[in-house]
């Protein structure tokens, strides 16, 4: 009688149950493990009073792709320190003070400036327009000139950064400036990580 009992399907069913059950137990065990507590990386505020001055070699304004003229952002701060879609004049420093949010350790300052090329000016590019044919000596169009911006950062009125960022011709100027604030809150080493887009 025992021999007539269908052993194989039963065995398969038992093994499947064991496999499935083990999997469920494993999931349950994993879920029961204590969740590692996130350790918040708290950085102290830097003690100095900071100010940023930005001076352009050109009139910064938006182009046909974006209206942005000038934006300065600090890492970890949601709102930009400064943002403008209005024309920012060449040679006139834009002063941002006081600058809140600088922490002890490495701080990233992102500066983005619109190159101000008006791509939408169809009259300048239309067939047979005022510009000369290739080969003739002409003044370089605005969008073919490289642009530069000077960024100065002051801490307690001492200059701690003085860097110039350059752009590819016609492109927006964009660069990261790293401000490393040591524990003792005196500010030192800065460097430009990347200039241009």
């Amino acid at each position: 009688m025992f021999n007539a009992f269908p052993k194989r399907p039963l065995l398969v069913l038992v093994m499947a149950t064991v496999v499935w059950g083990s999997l469920m137990l494993f999931h349950e065990f994993r879920a029961s493990l204590p969740t590692p507590e996130a350790v918040e990386n708290i950085r102290a505020d830097a003690q100095s009073e900071y100010a940023i001055a930005i001076t352009l070699t050109f009139d910064a304004q938006g182009d046909a792709f974006s209206p942005l003229a000038l934006r300065v952002s600090l890492d970890g701060v949601n709102e930009p320190l400064f943002e403008s879609n209005m024309t920012v004049r060449a040679g006139v420093p834009v002063l941002i003070a006081p600058v809140a949010g600088i922490k002890v350790g490495v701080n990233e300052l992102l500066v983005e400036v619109g190159s101000g090329t008006d791509f939408s000016d169809e009259s300048a590019t239309a067939f047979g327009g005022g510009a000369a044919d290739a080969g003739e000596a002409t003044e370089a169009p605005l969008h073919q000139v490289a642009h530069a911006i000077r960024v100065q950062v002051m801490a307690n009125e001492d200059e701690i950064v003085d860097q110039t960022l350059w752009s590819e011709p016609g492109d927006t100027v964009s660069g990261l400036i790293v401000i490393d604030v040591p524990e003792n809150t005196s500010v030192r080493a800065t460097r430009v990580q990347q200039a241009g887009q």
């Binding site: 194989r8 065995l11 398969v12 093994m15 499947a16 496999v19 499935w20 182009d63 046909a64 792709f65 974006s66 791509f119 939408s120 169809e122 590019t125 239309a126 067939f127 047979g128 327009g129 510009a131 000369a132 044919d133 290739a134 080969g135 969008h143 590819e168 011709p169 016609g170 492109d171 927006t172 887009q197």
Partner: protein
């Protein structure tokens, strides 16, 4: 035997759990149904994997002359958002009609573009081929970002940053195109193709455009080939001493080849106008399509 049975059981278990996960992922996705390959590409760039993007037209199909099929009605009915070009690019507004019938929200990508007005048979029409200017393409992208954000406001930030990155790529494309076209003297910048698809492109890069086919390949007012237009093209080729003319990937090249033979110029190649290239080709994306067009035009005319 037992081992085989066990394998079957394990496989069945894995399949069941896998199918469940797959169904969950599909069920969470919004669906955007697009009319043309270009607007579908823009939409994909913005929504990433969060949406399923479907396109009614396949690569190489002509939006002016397309006739809707029963499957299109279903595609539109299943969509959360309809994305179309507008200004009658979709011949007789077939996409808008499908969307209205299904009562679906629509993004008209061309909204906000400064239109070029075309004259034809005594009527004025807004040229719908605005995406062939990267600047206008950035307007399309912003409209799509706005449209998908209204349907899925929770992920607005995600769509906005994707849009920003894509617009930066469009700016790079535009600067590169300017540099490339600078190799062609202005006096030689005459672009002749089958129909008036390149007016925005030509206005942006200093070309004069001419075509025998009017603003549409369909039978709308002001569109179509006329003897007068054909002769004007031949005259343009001769008077400007044009080196080469171009066919388009979505249109039978016979007419352009005849014109080239009549005027004694070569056909330099096929341009992507109303449709991108098929999957696996260099022109399977908008940026790829524009890149290939620029290279083709510079090689043909310089």
């Amino acid at each position: 035997m037992l081992r085989r049975d066990l394998c079957v059981v394990l496989f069945a278990l894995m399949t069941v759990s896998g199918v469940g996960v797959g169904q969950e992922n599909q069920a969470n996705k919004f669906i955007a149904t697009c009319s043309t390959t270009q607007v579908a590409d823009f939409t994909r760039e913005i929504v990433g994997d969060r949406w399923e993007v479907r396109c009614i037209l396949a690569a190489g199909q002509d939006p002016h002359t397309y006739e809707t099929k029963p499957g299109d009605t279903k595609m539109v009915a299943n969509a959360d958002l309809i994305v179309r070009n507008g200004w009658h690019l979709e011949g007789h507004e077939w996409m808008m009609n499908l969307a209205k019938d299904a009562n679906k929200p629509v993004v008209t990508c061309i909204d906000g573009v400064k239109s070029l007005i075309l004259q034809g048979d005594g009527v004025e029409v807004k040229d719908p081929h605005a995406w062939l200017s990267p600047i206008n393409a950035s307007i399309y992208v912003r409209n799509i970002v706005k449209g998908v954000s209204q349907i899925d406001p929770e992920h607005r930030g995600e769509y906005e940053v994707r849009g920003e990155l894509y617009i930066a790529q469009l700016r790079t494309l535009h600067l590169w195109a300017q540099r490339e076209f600078n190799k062609i003297p202005r006096s030689q910048r005459v672009l002749i193709s089958h129909h008036d698809a390149f007016n925005y492109f030509c206005a942006l890069y200093g070309f004069q455009a001419a075509s025998p086919g009017g603003w549409s390949t369909g039978n709308e007012i002001g569109a179509g080939i006329t003897a007068e237009r054909r002769q004007k093209v031949v005259d343009t080729i001769r008077s400007y001493n044009v080196k080469a003319i171009f066919v388009e990937t979505t249109i039978n090249p016979k007419l352009v080849r005849q014109i080239a033979a009549d005027a004694g110029v070569k056909v330099a190649g096929s341009l992507y106008a109303d449709s991108m290239g098929g999957p696996g080709t260099a022109a399977e994306s908008y940026i790829g399509m524009m890149r290939e067009n620029v290279i083709m035009i510079v090689n043909g005319l310089k």
